[in-house]
């Protein structure tokens, strides 16, 4: 078939216009709820177990999830390792003993967690104390703002999530996070996982990951694993519900947050 330049350009033009048009139409129809409707009957007819696709009736809901960590209640090393250990185990977090390690929840000395609060003459007990750190699930997360693909995003309940299948591994979110809460899979993590838990996905090389307040457990009506393991030292709840446990504990105790001056509005509070 012979085509000249003009015909070629015409074909390219028309087909790209069609492609853009179909994408636009797809976007509009999903806005108006035409596409993507969850048709239970059709799915059931096709032999799917629809009950498994519906949200669990026990699912926990909130307008803004938040956590308070009462560091006064962390006394023995076991108090820390219990919380860290259970998270590492159920989330298949690899143990890579290099500068390219992966951390979701970990310990830092008080001075490292709150560098701007440190002073030379402070109470020794506090100065030497370890603090548990995790993603702050910021209300205004810089990581979400900078992500070029929407692979990290904020859910309506305030949780900052990761889509490991969309992440391109540009690590802009790691540069943007002022809390050092994000880790990058510089290598395949699987050989470094002690025992793979089949209930939670392992990650692939080349994507960023972080704590997500155990979104998968909230969906099943369970508290985040570290909160359960902390024996009451970590309090979790809805910050917008004035009767929630977290609001009660925050209104009756002195609490601080990491780097509040940056305006990210962290949702992890520390009770001193």
């Amino acid at each position: 078939m012979d085509i000249d330049k003009r015909q070629f350009l015409k074909i390219v033009g028309v087909s790209s216009a069609l492609w853009i048009g179909s994408r636009l139409a797809g976007g509009l129809s999903s806005v108006f709820g035409i596409k993507d409707r969850f048709d239970k009957r059709a799915l059931a007819d096709a032999g799917y177990e629809v009950s498994k696709m519906l949200p669990d009736p026990k699912e926990l809901k909130a307008r803004q999830w938040a956590m308070a960590i009462d560091i006064r209640q962390f006394k023995t090393p076991d108090d820390y390792t219990r919380c860290i250990g259970v998270c590492d185990k159920i989330h298949n977090i690899p143990d890579i003993p290099t500068k390219q390690d992966i951390k979701w929840i970990w310990e830092e000395p008080y001075n490292a967690a709150f560098p701007e609060q440190h002073n030379q003459y402070m109470e020794a007990a506090l100065e030497n104390k370890s603090v548990l750190l995790l993603c702050n699930q910021c209300e205004f997360p810089p990581c979400v703002r900078v992500c070029p693909t929407g692979a990290t995003f904020k859910r309506p309940d305030g949780i900052v999530m990761m889509d490991y299948h969309r992440c391109i591994g540009c690590r802009y979110c790691m540069a943007a996070c002022p809390y050092g809460s994000r880790s990058f899979n510089f290598r395949d993590p699987r050989p470094y996982i002690k025992k793979i838990d089949p209930d939670y996905p392992t990650r692939t090389r080349g994507v960023v990951e972080k704590c997500d307040f155990c979104a998968e457990r909230l969906d099943q009506g369970l508290m985040p694993a570290c909160v359960d393991a902390s024996k009451g030292a970590m309090i979790f709840g809805d910050l917008r519900d004035q009767n929630s446990a977290i609001r009660k504990v925050l209104s009756t105790n002195f609490s601080i947050r990491r780097k509040p001056e940056l305006g990210t509005q962290p949702n992890v509070f520390y009770i001193l």
């Binding site: 500068k99 703002r145 070029p148 969309r166 540009c170 802009y172 002022p178 290598r187």
Partner: protein, 385 residues
Amino acid sequence: MIEKALYGSKKYWIWVLFLVALLGVCFHFYLLQLKDGLTITGMSRNVSWGLYIAQFTYLVGVAASAVMLVIPYYLHHYKAFARMMILGEFMAIAAVTMCMLFIFVDLGQPMRVMNVLLYPQLHSVMFWDMTVLSGYLILNILIGWNTLEAERKNAPPPSWIKPLIYLSVVWAISIHTVTAFLYAGLPGRPYWLSAIMAARFLAGAFCSGPALLLLLVFFVQRFVQYRVGDEAIKALSKIVAYAMSVNVFFLLLEIFTAFYSRIPDDMNAFRYLFVGLDGHTTLVPAMWVSVGLSIVSLAILVPPQLRDNRRLLTMALIALVIATWIDKGFSLIAAGFVPNPFDRVTVYLPTFPEIMIALGVYTIGLLILTILWKVAISVKEKTTA
């Protein structure tokens, strides 16, 4: 017109084959990175960007610097640049291509790069950076190729090219501004969180880019009959002198704000670079080399008697390119992550495979530059002969 690249001297072909062979060696290291991941680099959880992103930043400047020829030539009708224009525009094409490749080799999941277009996030500076870089590449290809083609046919360039040229002036400024915004808008990185970042980037670009262009021109003139003209060289080296002075001035502004205010967050990165922080002094020697070379380059570039001496000028330009490269092509990124959010220092140094991959990208850039300049100079030699 591209066929001009297929006819060349023996030296030309040896050079092209050398580049292809070098690329083959470097590509082997990229395959290694594809297999094992970015673990083969010196980057870490705390310093999560390194040599690749730094080269990207430096080369955006080189690309943007073409505007230092475009403004005098097209806006002020400064005809002395007539024989230099196309070389600058083609260098910009090679530089933007390298920028894109440096982003690409930095990705953890390179096969997903199209996600940036499939799920465009208008609030992400990186999306805009990709947009302006692609636009700038297209603009330079259109402008460069069409003006050269017109010249070959001994006809005036098509009239639709004029608006594109004016657009390219604004566009060149935008690529480096948006690149600065990648860093200058991040809340937890005090070394980058500076309103003067974009201005400093542009000043650095407008000295290092033309300096590199002049050095490349001096090199190529040893092998071809084509001459860009003494007046063009003098004018461009004057531009380099001004831009370098502004570049150093902007750096001093940053240092004043940090050290007169005595705010530790603002001082820490500078301390890390110039005297060391918490006993970490790895980058200190390189930084003082950069300072020394900056002084040398200015000392030669500012007095006209010295600047107009070709041998001294060449030395000054080499000093300048190395000095600005250390500042912007390395330490800017490495020090932005120091200290980390826990007030600790993590030292970053690139690994050998990482350096080889970066060298590979530079090789591709050189190959593109060689081919484009070969075409341009062949056409020019014919039309002016």
